[in-house]
Subunit: 143 residues, 2 copies
């Protein structure tokens, strides 16, 4: 999660909402890392998780990542959670909980839906304090 | 929807699940069209709607498409529905309903969630017969 946080800090430096993600294979190798690029790319789908998944799949040449785990600093939204399901990721570790926009423990609760056909192991609240503080500080400066 | 169906036929020709989408601006101009490319790109997020949204945003240089409508041959999944919300699309017209994987009228029902902050106008079942038959025939040949 330290490494995902480093990505979140890169997002912050680019004036993006500070969220970072990495994908790690079964041997512990980081195969993709990304931060939120919605503003930079003018792409509403350019969340850290989506970019990391697309990058890992591109590198592997495979639409499935069943031996891989995702670390992300914020609870994934419904879009990213569904992409995680499609990619067959093994585990998700996320930092802060997101009651306003989350799609794992809040709102759509993607992995609990009968329309979701893969459910990863889920671990939330990892380094929650650091991950959440970065977001709170960012939004405070925007007000 | 005829034009989205044409895209779905292109997907079929590429041995992809035959789903097509287009995005139309307020003057009726098609500004992006795409078909499902999950297998071709080895990208689990490469659904027709996602590719059309990303293309339209790229052309516009804007993460929002509030004057635009999306036509897609199948009910969007939760990933695409959430991306539609993020892009602030005005209206969605979809063809066949998708009880197994849909995220608009089924499962996550993205636009009814308190975590969803934009709800487009939604029109389902447009040319449902043609859109659905294409998918049924495709899966029948795969069995």
């Amino acid at each position: 999660m330290q490494r995902a946080l480093k990505q979140a800090h890169l997002a912050l430096a680019a004036d993006e909402v500070p969220i970072g993600a990495i994908i790690v294979d079964a041997d512990g190798n980081v195969i993709a890392e990304a931060h939120n690029r919605v503003e930079t790319d003018a792409d509403p789908s350019a969340h850290a998780e989506m970019l990391a998944i697309r990058e890992a799949c591109r590198i592997r040449g495979d639409k499935y990542l069943p031996d891989c785990d995702l670390y992300v600093t914020l609870e994934p939204c419904a879009m990213c959670a569904q992409a995680i399901a499609f990619a067959h990721l093994r585990r998700i570790y996320f930092g802060a909980y997101d009651p306003k926009g989350g799609g794992v423990e809040h709102g759509a609760r993607i992995f609990s839906q009968p329309t979701c056909h893969h459910r990863p192991e889920i671990y939330g609240g990892i380094m929650e304090q650091e991950c959440g503080a970065l977001l709170k500080d960012f939004f405070a400066t925007k007000r």
